[in-house]
Amino acid sequence: MRALIVDDERLARAELARLLAAHPDIEIAGESRNGEEALEQIARLDPDLVFLDIQMPGMTGFDLLERLEDVPQVIFTTAYNQYALRAFEVNALDYLLKPIAPARLAQALSRVRPRPRGARLEQVFVRDGDRCWIVRVPDIFLLESEGNYTRLYFANEHPLIRRSLNALEAQLDPALFFRAGRKEILNLKWIEKVNLAVSGGLTVILRGGRTVEMSRRQSARLREVLSL
């Protein structure tokens, strides 16, 4: 698997590279000194995994993630303590506290999987004030258009992402996500119940209780998709 190391400190990068030498299955595809370099290298090298420092000049690790369309697997490396990090509520693959313990690195690497290469969106990064999330796309049960932004519903959260619903739809797996109307896309895996509305359209109830009303035209399409 190919990894990119992003850290503004040369010694920190060198130290992590030395630690990774014990893991022959991880190939260091490159090293970036800041967010700008990382953006370019992620686009060019397409790594499976990014080791990402949070505090960097110019662009923080979070700023960087926000600018990525599709987010690779991320392991944060930081001198923050885990409590400070938890405050960000980022469900990264893992985080490593500096100085990094070799056993902790091995544990973190055991969760890394080769990244499927395709046009589909795997993960997105969303920030809402002080909180941010790396969201696995299959965990999103509803996407709702709000102008040029889209509200993502997952777990108990529903932050806004700075992308339009149409832009997102182009990258979603059509076998999983269904356009329910002008403003909504729902995740078929998360449908709990489908009711027939008085209007003749369908009302979908998602796991967690959210209901989505559908037009007659879209209802007919949903019937097709679900009966398949």
């Binding site: 503004d8 400190e9 030395r18 000049p57 110019g58 001198a79 506290l97 990094i100």
Partner: protein, 335 residues
């Protein structure tokens, strides 16, 4: 010792003048010897009784709470002492007048006892006012001390762990530098953990600690951090609050140099200007508009400490000019 002396002086002067005025009032109604002995004894046992009362009240801590309502038992005890005094006054006067004391008349005795018994209440009120004032001052001093302690910044954990991470890397890459940095880190930890109880230190030891700190940060930032010292020799022995230089330097790196991809210059200088010690920490970069309005935590902390220690005589200014941010601290030196 000083307050003990003041206490006895107040006792003697207070009871002395009270007895003297009382004696002068009655001197035309009774023989001089009877007045002199009666009031003389009154003066002596009043001091003895109220001194005992003071010890009793102190043992019970009746005046120690800030809430005045809790002082009530002390006043009741004082009143009780007042009745003892009244008894003594009447007994002594009866003896001196061979049973013809005017105080022992049925229509007088009630008022006399009541009047005499009130005097120690006045004594207690004065004593309470004096000790409460002193306690309030002590509380204020303790609070000030605690505030200063809280503000004397402890080592930043982020810095500590980043340093350890740099050292871990250097152990393989550059063992002599790794050794040097471990020593410097030990110095910093010792300076933080084992500082004297005082609220000021000589500038020299601050500069040493800052040099250790900067050596560690230089290992981390490498060529991105370029440090220059310009210290006026006559300032080295001058007193400043501990961790002040390090807080300024830390701040300059965190908000000034760390955000610059290409790094920057850091100047640390000291001078004497108009009888004040002037410290300047200057870094490349510029204040974000938001930073100008809302000074970083470290700088607010310094301002607060300067205010507690020097009032309005010491200042911290932050100036932003030509791509450089300068923090200037002025501390008055006692002449």
């Amino acid at each position: 010792m000083k307050s003990r002396y003041a206490y006895w002086l107040c006792q003697v002067l207070g009871w002395g003048s009270y007895a003297l005025i009382g004696a002068l009032f009655v001197t035309q109604h009774a023989p001089a010897a009877r007045v002199a002995i009666g009031y003389g004894l009154y003066f002596l046992y009043s001091i003895a009784l109220t001194h005992w009362l003071r010890g009793y009240v102190r043992r019970h801590g009746w005046l120690e709470k800030p809430d005045r309502l809790h002082h009530l038992p002390a006043y009741l005890a004082a009143w009780a002492v007042g009745f003892v005094q009244a008894g003594l006054v009447i007994a002594v006067d009866s003896l001196l007048s061979r049973g013809h004391s005017e105080l022992w008349q049925p229509d007088v005795v009630g008022g006399a006892v009541f009047g005499i018994s009130m005097v120690p209440l006045g004594w207690m009120a004065v004593y309470d006012a004096v000790t409460s004032g002193r306690r309030a001052k002590e509380r204020e001093l303790a609070l000030r001390d605690a505030e200063l302690r809280a503000l004397e910044l402890q080592i930043n954990p982020h810095f500590l762990f980043n340093s350890l991470n740099s050292i871990r890397g250097l152990v393989i890459e550059n063992p002599p530098l790794a050794q040097d940095l471990i020593t410097r880190l030990a110095n910093i930890l010792r300076y933080n953990l084992h500082r004297d109880a005082g609220h000021t230190v000589p500038l020299d030891s601050e500069l040493e600690a800052a040099a250790d700190y900067l050596a560690l940060e230089s290992a981390r930032y490498e060529e991105r951090l370029r440090v220059h010292f310009a210290v006026a020799p006559e300032t080295r022995a001058m007193a400043i609050p501990p961790m002040l230089v390090q807080t300024l330097v830390e701040n300059a790196i965190k908000h000034g140099i760390a955000p610059l991809a290409e790094g920057g210059e850091l100047h640390v200088g000291s001078a004497v200007e108009d009888g004040s010690l002037v410290l300047r920490v200057q870094n490349s970069g510029s204040l974000a508009p938001a930073d100008a309005a809302r000074a970083p935590l470290g700088l607010n902390n310094i301002r607060e400490r300067l205010r507690i220690l020097y009032g309005s005589r010491a200042t911290l200014d932050l100036a932003n000019r030509e791509g450089r941010v300068t923090a200037t601290v002025r501390i008055p030196q006692k002449i």
